[in-house]
């Protein structure tokens, strides 16, 4: 399949209703950090962009939201073309310019503080990171607490960024500034908003 076909195919079959379903899953996930929200396969982007991450991009991104692609995604012309064609979002020149960042290789990703953090007066002007993960259960356990969590919740995404727990603690300390994370797994997603604290982490 050539790049043109790949970039035109694979969008939402029912744009209005699919976007609503994906948004509600994200809203529920960010309102209840650590909960796993199931999502049917609604988008078929070219690899290595995943169906879930692609659906999140389709639901939230448009020409008002510069998107940053990590090097693994940038290397695929078909991914760039697909995101551009289906969302209209311009590519951000640097992580700090991005409203959204799609990260196919979280392990090697740039430091969290390299993305837009928002300002003290406009903390909403920050990057939302969409991390592609293999699942939400096979990695080191993250015990979570904070708004949206009654007592504690648990999530265990594999292949997270290096020194993630330490980086996340610093992200917490920047509140109300800071980044928010959407973890996009096959068939499901979960969120870590900037308010979520990671209590402990198993080895």
């Amino acid at each position: 399949m050539d790049i043109t076909t790949q970039s035109i195919d694979g969008g939402f079959a029912e744009p209005v209703f699919n976007a609503q379903v994906v948004f509600r899953a994200i809203m529920d996930a960010i309102a209840r950090p650590g909960t796993v929200q199931n999502l049917p396969q609604l988008a078929r982007p070219p690899a290595p962009l995943s169906a879930t991450a692609g659906a999140v991009a389709l639901a939230l991104c448009d020409n008002d939201t510069p998107v940053w692609l990590d090097p693994r995604l940038q290397a695929e012309a078909s991914v760039k073309a697909w995101v551009g064609f289906h969302t209209g979002a311009p590519l951000a020149n640097t992580p700090a310019d991005a409203h959204f960042a799609l990260i196919a290789n979280p392990k090697e990703m740039a430091a969290l503080d390299g993305f837009a953090q928002g300002t003290q007066e406009y903390p909403d002007r920050s990057t939302t990171l969409i991390l592609l993960v293999d699942d939400l259960a096979s990695g080191p356990s993250l015990l979570l607490e904070g708004p949206g969590i009654e007592k504690t919740s648990m999530i265990a995404p594999p292949g997270m960024p290096r020194h993630f727990v330490e980086q996340w603690k610093q992200n917490n300390q920047r509140f109300p500034r800071g980044v928010d994370i959407i973890l996009a797994a096959p068939g499901s997603l979960a969120c870590l908003p900037r308010t979520t604290r990671i209590k402990t982490m198993e080895a």
Binding site: A13, E14, P15, V16, F17, A19, Q20, V21, F23, R24, I26, M27, I30, A31, R32, A59, L60, C61, D62, D64, T65, H99, T119, Q120, E121, Y122, P123, D124, S126, T128, P147, G148, I149, E150, F175, P176, D180, P193, R194, T195
Partner: protein, 303 residues
């Protein structure tokens, strides 16, 4: 998708265009991530005047899906003009199921009350907000209030409340009583009676706030601390009523005074009409309950 939902799509499901919904959805997610912080958004013209809950309507329109069940209340009642119009609007533009029953609703849009029945984790409460800025009456300039929030400079707010105490012997504010969210942002809980403030504290339901004219969206995630501002020597207290609801006998609920005649006759009844009707249907009666009331006599609001 079935044929019916395809029909809806052809005339703009939930009224707003998709780009507007995306913009509002992004604002909602930021609001949830920064509890109590007012996220600016580009409010759209709605087919109803400001003051009719255009902010709440835009939030509801951006989150609602075909499977949702919507309840709309105005001052606790499902059958006022404002509530009826908004419910009819969504029935028309989103073809969603509507209800007056708090327990059945997945989305509850409200002006000035929180239902008496405790909300659940599967519900979203959407508030219509006229003035989202709790510091506005202290400082009219947006640039200044934004700075005060940025610096967590809330001393003036405490001074104002303390002036109340000096003047009235208590904090006189009974509506839109300011709260602090998760120990950080001072937030206007919308013009709900302060009676409802404790219901916001660690509620299992997600709470979203939309101010149309002022173009702000903010949020309180579930299980989030919402504390009414007060002083050690003058702790926050909710309104209390010295009599139960005249119709259903409920205590510890918010009551409205209803004038019965022009000779000063009046009674106090539940402001939450669904709660009151449910209790009467369950056989609970206040001292002025109509004797003929039957369990099946629940009035449906006119759409």
């Amino acid at each position: 998708m079935n044929a019916q939902s395809t029909d809806i799509a052809t005339y703009n499901f939930a009224y707003l265009d998709e780009q507007t919904k995306r913009m509002i959805r992004r604002a909602i997610l930021k609001g949830i991530a920064i509890p109590g912080y007012q996220v600016p958004f580009a409010s759209r013209e709605m087919p109803m005047p400001y003051g009719w809950g255009t902010g709440g309507v835009q939030v509801t329109a951006s989150i609602i899906g075909p499977d949702d069940v919507l309840k709309v209340i105005d001052q606790g009642a499902d059958d006022t003009t404002n509530a009826v119009s908004i419910r009819a609007f969504f029935k028309k533009v989103a073809k969603v199921d509507v209800t007056t029953e708090t327990a059945r609703a997945t989305i509850i849009q409200t002006r000035h009350r929180i239902p008496e029945q405790p909300l659940t984790a599967s519900q979203v409460l959407v508030f219509q907000v006229p003035i989202p800025e709790p510091l506005r009456f202290l400082e009219p300039r947006e640039t200044e209030t934004r700075k005060m929030h940025a610096l967590e400079e809330y001393g003036l707010m405490h001074v104002k409340l303390y002036e109340d105490i000096a003047k009235h012997g208590r904090i006189a504010t009974t509506y839109a009583y300011p709260v602090k969210v998760e120990g950080r942002y001072v937030m206007d809980p919308s013009p709900t009676p302060k009676f409802d403030n404790p219901k916001m504290h660690r509620s299992p339901a997600l709470q979203l706030f939309g101010a149309g004219r002022e173009k702000r969206i903010y949020a309180v995630p579930p299980f989030t601390d919402v504390v009414s501002l007060d002083f050690e020597d003058h702790p926050f207290e909710v309104q209390t009523f010295d009599q139960p609801c005249a119709l259903c006998g409920a205590e510890n609920v918010y009551l409205d005074e209803v004038i019965l005649d022009d000779h000063g006759g009046h009674m106090f009844v539940c402001s939450d009409t669904d709660h009151c009707e449910k209790r009467q249907a369950d056989g609970q009666h206040g001292h002025l309950a109509p004797e003929t009331h039957s369990a099946s006599g629940k009035m449906e609001p006119v759409e």
